[in-house]
Symmetry: D2
Subunit: 203 residues, 4 copies
Amino acid sequence: MSKVKLAVIYYSSTGTNYQLAKWAEEGAKENGAEVKVLKVPETAPQSAIDSNPAWKANIEETKNVPEVTLDDLEWADAIIFSVPTRFGNMPGQVKNFLDTTGGLWFNGKLTNKVVSAMTSAQNPHGGQEVTTLALYTTMYHWGAIVVAPGYTDPVLYSAGGNPYGTSVSVNQEGKMVEDVQGAVKHQAKRTVTVAEWVKKGNK
Amino acid sequence: MSKVKLAVIYYSSTGTNYQLAKWAEEGAKENGAEVKVLKVPETAPQSAIDSNPAWKANIEETKNVPEVTLDDLEWADAIIFSVPTRFGNMPGQVKNFLDTTGGLWFNGKLTNKVVSAMTSAQNPHGGQEVTTLALYTTMYHWGAIVVAPGYTDPVLYSAGGNPYGTSVSVNQEGKMVEDVQGAVKHQAKRTVTVAEWVKKGNK
Amino acid sequence: MSKVKLAVIYYSSTGTNYQLAKWAEEGAKENGAEVKVLKVPETAPQSAIDSNPAWKANIEETKNVPEVTLDDLEWADAIIFSVPTRFGNMPGQVKNFLDTTGGLWFNGKLTNKVVSAMTSAQNPHGGQEVTTLALYTTMYHWGAIVVAPGYTDPVLYSAGGNPYGTSVSVNQEGKMVEDVQGAVKHQAKRTVTVAEWVKKGNK
Amino acid sequence: MSKVKLAVIYYSSTGTNYQLAKWAEEGAKENGAEVKVLKVPETAPQSAIDSNPAWKANIEETKNVPEVTLDDLEWADAIIFSVPTRFGNMPGQVKNFLDTTGGLWFNGKLTNKVVSAMTSAQNPHGGQEVTTLALYTTMYHWGAIVVAPGYTDPVLYSAGGNPYGTSVSVNQEGKMVEDVQGAVKHQAKRTVTVAEWVKKGNK
């Protein structure tokens, strides 16, 4: 059987979720997956970006990361989303992208994708749980199979014990507060493992 | 005391939520409120709009409705949102707008707004409940006061009995399935009534 | 490989969810599963039951249905829950049972169960969506794999198009409003299919 | 006008939410409210309680705290719930109690109660957000007015910045990790303030 194809789709204004996505890539590759790290297209006005040096720098730093396309969704056996919280929900940029998937959805091309999600926020309880669950709600519309980490490995506890998906708090200086690298890698491996079962069974 | 100021903020691609917004305006005015009906700025590409005649026609029909601004949020004592469901969540357009409220939020300008929400979807259980609740989740971040209809009037039962906010299903021909006009007007009146209590108390 | 073992766990006061459970059993057996239909233990006081003839009659009618035990959860490869809505969440009886699973959870015995859920309510938008999603939230804690129906079959549209799980409205006479038998059977088959993939892969 | 009547309704197995309830009482009294601290009736089997010394001790320590009754709900202008998370939702004990409010609900006796909620969990992201939101979902059915803390005071940030309601993590030794006393008192005062506006307006 061919390798599990994993799309790690992230949106990141100042770099946190890009880092989470890179760690997910590492974990998934260790588990034998073929991985694409893909960024959600930026739809904010240039003036907003220019007003925030960290945002501008991150866009520059990730300019070579390909933007996610509908073809990537069709290509993927599994998808891991990594997105920040904005007022207890995903950013508009991410919803804009998800809203373009109506054609794929209508043609049943999103069924049985194995999906999982990660988030970040500035406050420890700033919407990490509900943002992850909002992504899963949309995934149910797709007919996806949702694989959250639960408490399937001890490494998850030290990362904050978020059973819906790894989440991290980012302090005023833009640094991650919890050490979540291990949790991200575990979540990615688990996603790939379940995707492999589904891919084998569903051929 | 001055009248309660109500902003009815809607997003509508093919007209349903514009109609709900107009009914809300009627109900609120009957209860003595000063009302602005305001549309969320369209952020979809022109090509998407052009591919859907009903969408294009609605944009033409509502071209004189003012777009909502941050000043409108500051002006309002109460806000009623009316938005369609897209994959179990609000449309990207709406989230894009909400994401621009960080400055107002940071300065405490959104605290104690009295809010309520309405939705539409194509299927009877196509995300009406969760879309409304997703809006309320964001409202909690604002420090708003959330006033859902519950079952506070018999008219709500005939409209589908959605206690989180009036919701309507739209069939393949674009027609509303349930008769929700009475429910919308009740929800608008209730929102204005509570906003009046808050305005009087909070002066 | 041995057959997929499916536990259909329901709570029913007046019979609706017992009927949904029986249809799920039919669908799952047609897909080759070994099925147990199991009721959640009643924890309401006898006086409450006695005050409602339909509740009392249903308890009498289902007295030979075995009560679900923790051993059943361990036995199952897949679980379908069928529960009514009570104020936008599962009934206390169901939560009482789920709260007893801490020992199994702690020992990792609930990981990778393939789960799906169905609901009923008296109003068309009486909490069907959020009750299903509340069950899935608990399932994420277990480390389960959540398989919602999405829009994976046309039969789901005529049943109300609830992508999170089949749901039905029950009128004042206790009759189901929508025809959901086909949707229930499809959801059961889909659950068994995915569970078979997981069972094969995870051996 | 008579004082705002506040019911602080808690469920606590080992004492955390009893402590939160006591702090809420303090804050509310400082804001001039008449307060009843009330416990949700225990419905777990005695054997479960006996197997956990901390649970048994807390039951003994709080034996003189009155159990909440339906009359208390009718009496209250405002209600603050304080409950632990169990698998991402409220405990069965709490749902059992809420399920008994159908008669009050049917007679419109729960309309316009001003409500707010607090939670605890063992992991920092162990369901604090969704448990609070699940309580609010039920409150919408009641026709209640939901007043979450948002970010209405700087003290909330040091308590974890949960905008839906104060939440606390409890470590293996049963000690609270965050310092939430100030946040609880602020939330209680805010709830009383809004309840006073509603009471004045709604007379």
